[in-house]
């Protein structure tokens, strides 16, 4: 740490990347500040250098091309909630963004990039993006790399590393007729979830032809519950299928979180409950415009 921290506001992605590559650690990237300011206010984090990426226009904007929605990392939750492209092509992401805690103040300022880089197990955006098969574009030392969000989030603490910048999130547009739901179990309005689940489903003549399911807020990583939904393919969504899904999910939670949001044993059970609710709501919505 330094008693005299310094600050830089690069005005292009190339400049920011070059700057980061030339620093020997102790630097931190800041944009909206919602994730790191609590640590700075309380002295838990004392960076030598702040790199303010808020001025990088390469990290802004939402567009769609060839069936993929490209969302700049500086996009705030409020924009995800109200953007026309997101509302039409990725309604589950708009919904998940509206469920984030912290109030409107945080929705107005918290960025998509900051949310993902935080890799916080209780946050709302990542489960939805993982269920939608999102990819991310990163820049490190001038090199642009594209990878799946799932690969990025495999490491809970340092998936990115301080020299990389998350530039954009690339999400395949949801196919017409896709059923979807984001389910969040929480104790009170502004609270973190005790368990949450994001589901998508495709139906053909009442039978499930494809489905994705992720479960968050129950373990230190978001769980891909593909193994639990595999058994649903080819079946109709019946009471028995719902029960099967609910019973399969707790076993996927190997090391449950046990915190203010609830005990580990309860969280495992709730993983099944939110999974069932999310899939039921997704099935109910499938095929509707």
């Amino acid at each position: 740490m330094s008693l005299y921290p310094s600050f830089a506001r690069p005005n292009s992605l190339a400049q920011a990347s070059e700057l980061l590559a030339g620093l020997s650690g102790g630097s931190v990237i800041i944009a909206g500040g919602q994730e790191i300011m609590p640590h700075i206010n309380h002295g838990a984090m004392q960076p030598d250098i702040y790199i303010d990426i808020g001025g990088l226009k390469e990290l802004r904007g939402i567009s769609e091309a060839d069936g993929v929605v490209s969302i700049g990392a500086l996009t705030v939750h409020r924009e995800l909630q109200g953007n026309a492209i997101v509302a039409e092509k990725l309604p589950m992401l708009a919904d998940a963004a509206s469920r984030a805690g912290g109030g409107r103040q945080v929705h107005n300022r918290a960025t998509l990039g900051g949310n993902l880089v935080a890799m916080h197990p209780l946050y709302d955006i990542a489960p939805a993006l993982l269920a939608l098969g999102a990819e991310v574009e990163l820049v490190k030392a001038g090199e642009t790399r594209r990878t799946s969000l799932a690969a990025l989030m495999h490491e809970t603490s340092h998936g990115l590393g301080s020299e990389a910048i998350l530039v954009r999130v690339l999400v395949p547009a949801m196919a017409a007729g896709t059923g979807w739901a984001y389910e969040k179990l929480k104790l009170s309005g502004g609270a973190y979830g005790s368990a949450n689940a994001a589901a998508t489903v495709q139906l053909d003549a009442g039978r499930i032809t494809a489905a994705t399911l992720t479960i968050g807020a129950v373990a230190d990583r978001i769980i891909d519950a593909a193994a639990a939904v595999q058994g649903l393919i080819g079946q109709a969504w019946t009471a028995a299928a719902a029960e099967q899904l609910e019973l399969r999910c707790p076993a996927l939670v190997k090391q449950p979180l046990s915190d203010q949001q609830g005990s580990g044993e309860w969280r495992q059970a709730m993983a099944g409950v939110v999974a069932r609710r999310a899939m039921a709501a997704a099935v109910a919505r499938a095929g509707q415009k």
Binding site: Y4, P5, S6, F7, A8, R9, P10, Q15, E18, L19, G22, I30, A31, G32, G33, Q34, M37, P38, I40, N41, H42, P47, I49, Y50, D52, G54, R78, G101, G102, G103, R104, Q105, V106, N108, R109, G189, G190
Partner: protein, 166 residues
């Protein structure tokens, strides 16, 4: 060469409650500290410094934010409104402040500056808000006195008054 970008402080220009200020923002300093310590506007309250309580809410470029979670140096130019900027030109309370006064929306008053700014954004977006919209609009502000019912009443009273006069 890139080291040229590193500075020890940032000169920022903000219009705060209509008045232009130029201040020296140290790296790491929050907007909350800048407003309270450097501009002397102590109506913006410091609560938790973690983003939970909302007492430090101000309006930044037309949107409410938690000033403790916003770093001053990241705002080279900004339009800021604090609680001190809410009263009307003749010095009387604005309709939202008046409704909070009439409906016992203030008890200890600590959360009030933030609560009022959140209520103003809520009413700008929803002139006739439902209970659910009020809950969502005030979700980022904690109050430990009122139990929130008088706050909901105050927002509805303000909404009625504003619709009447607009």
């Amino acid at each position: 060469m890139m080291d040229d970008l590193l500075v020890q402080s940032v000169l920022v220009q903000w219009r705060v409650n209509g008045k232009l200020h130029e201040i020296e923002a140290m790296p790491g300093m929050s907007l909350l500290d800048a407003v309270r310590e450097q501009l002397g506007l102590t109506g913006t309250h410091m609560g938790c410094q973690t983003g939970h309580c909302g007492a430090c809410t101000v309006m930044l470029d037309g949107r409410i934010v938690k000033s403790c979670l916003t770093q001053a140096a990241t705002l080279p130019r900004a339009e800021i409104v604090t609680i001190e900027g809410l009263k009307r030109a003749d010095g009387t309370l604005n309709p939202v402040q008046q409704a909070f006064w009439d409906e016992a929306g203030f008890q200890c008053g600590y959360c009030a500056p933030g609560m009022l700014l959140s209520a103003m954004e809520l009413l700008a977006e929803h002139p006739d808000p439902t209970d659910a919209q009020i809950d969502t609009g005030l979700a980022g502000n904690l109050c430990r006195c009122t139990g929130y019912r008088s706050l909901v009443r105050a927002v509805k009273a303000a909404a009625a008054k504003m619709r009447e006069t607009s």
